[in-house]
Symmetry: C2
Subunit: 315 residues, 2 copies
């Protein structure tokens, strides 16, 4: 593997002055409801509102002087875009973010607020990649991929590394799966800590390429993703797929109804705002009996699309 | 005074194994928006979802054996009811809560969930007090008032005591004011810490008895309260009024629009759920230039009426 458990420990030392050590919360009410002891790592309270601040900072802080001179680039409309823009500003270098023209105005504003340049393109994957390549030919920026990057994966793993320090007796760790960067980093963190913790991925049934690949033993690509959890619509890369096969205990799938229910429980009981993607790990416990007693859940982010509130019915 | 700064320190030692030391959060975005350094003490993440867990536990833990035998009583439909029910259960004694018959079902369920007895009465103050007195004649329970009680005030002050330990250089502390228990306890905590911190109360213009009393030098009673901040509709008692006069630097009033705006900012930026009463302290900064640079805000609670989400428009 090109990313190792030791890389997570090194990333932790490299970025800890630039990210929050986020708190871990518990709720006796949720423990009673689900019949397990739950521990919630609040990455929604992280810088830029998501764990993505970790991986981007870890990658940016390892650039060579020549790379720093040309700056960084990514194509994303999600939390990685803000995370990369912030990491670049902290390190005093330029960032370019290629975004689809139909990206929400608040996401574009957030990236601009961190001082990055935003280049709009047609809302297709082909256009995003084409635009990014054209910019890189001209400006020689370094591409920082949202998840298919060893430095990014090691950085995302620092959330679980902290979590294991904060809660030494966890038996399982459940994390949401989109492209698999958080899941892969979490698995490496568990190895680094030499802990006996089962790492489990959770994803929407409407974007279940990881589950299908896990079950079939073959990476799935090109599936159509339909879910409110917009951060989990991506698919595993060969790198994150291999790490899943090697180190992950199971992949749970969850319904859209369970995602909404979990968001409501987190709002109502933990008093935390989480985005739908972050609710998926708790949603995976709805209607499921776990073979673990002490279960850690990474609440991956809190950047909620403002239009979503009106659809929320919390009871 | 019948409650002293030393009582806050004693309360801190007495209850710290039964409440959370809640985290303090910051947001560079909010700092930029308001032009000050803001520190948010997250009592919405406290047990029962509010600082009220502190005062109730401090009072219950000082009952005599005879008082414990007969249990405790209060009349409240708010967070104090849950806090007292929880404190009684922790201490293994009975609690009775007199609630108006029109109290929200979820609030009643929460109190019952902590094992307390709920007695319903007509939704008038006279009926609540009459019912409570009748129950006390029969059962000899000890009344634990939501704020007009030295032990409760000292307990509420432990939030600020912790806050000052967590953020040693605060110049001002802004807290919401209803009956004045949190404000009085906060002022005593500042005295106990021998800190040079201005204590400021914030209340809705629609329930501004503290502001009027502060300005006129005479406690105001019987004013009509009209505000979404249901936790702040009460009025100061002679005890909390006297503590305000002695130790509080100012009372800020805020509009209903500012309360909604602050709730949205806290949801969107801090990723925290707070009840309207808890948003009032931040709301007091809207359109106001402060003579302080490092400002602490106590986010007093997170128990949001579920019907409120539909009215919320977050931008």
């Amino acid at each position: 593997m090109d990313v190792t458990p030791e890389d997570v420990i090194a990333a932790h030392k490299r970025i800890q002055d630039g990210v929050h050590c986020t708190p871990v919360l518990c709720s006796q009410r949720l423990n009673a409801q689900f019949g397990v002891e739950l521990y919630f790592k609040c990455e929604n309270l992280q810088k830029v509102g998501a764990f993505k601040a970790r991986g981007a900072l870890n990658a940016v802080r390892q650039l060579t002087p020549a790379q720093r001179h040309h700056g960084v680039i990514t194509h994303s409309s999600g939390n990685h875009a803000q995370a990369l823009a912030r990491a670049a500003r902290l390190s005093g270098l330029n960032a370019t973010v290629v975004m689809p023209s139909n990206a929400p105005a608040n996401k574009k504003a957030a990236v601009l607020g961190y001082g990055a340049r935003v280049i709009e393109c047609e809302p297709t994957l082909v256009a995003r990649e084409h635009t990014t390549q054209a910019l890189m030919r001209e400006g020689q920026q370094t591409l920082i991929h949202p998840y298919d990057d060893p430095l990014v994966i090691a950085g995302q793993g620092t959330a679980a590394w902290e979590f294991i320090e904060q809660c030494p007796n966890l038996e399982a760790l459940i994390v949401p799966v989109g492209g698999g960067g958080l899941m892969a980093g979490t698995a490496l963190a568990v190895l680094a800590a030499r802990a006996n913790i089962a790492v489990i991925g959770a994803e929407p049934v409407g974007a279940a390429d990881a589950h299908a690949g896990f079950t079939l033993g073959v990476r799935q690509t090109g599936l159509t993703a339909t879910t409110i959890a917009d951060g989990l619509r991506g698919e595993l890369s060969p790198r994150t797929f291999a790490l899943m096969q090697a180190h992950v205990a199971d992949i749970y799938t969850v319904s859209e109804a369970a995602i909404w229910q979990a968001m409501g429980l987190i709002l109502n009981t933990l008093k935390l705002v989480v985005e739908p993607s972050a609710a998926v790990a708790l949603a995976s416990l709805v209607g499921r009996t776990l073979p673990y007693r002490r279960v850690g859940i990474i609440l991956s982010g809190g950047n909620v699309d403002p239009t979503l509130w009106s659809g929320l019915s919390v009871s």
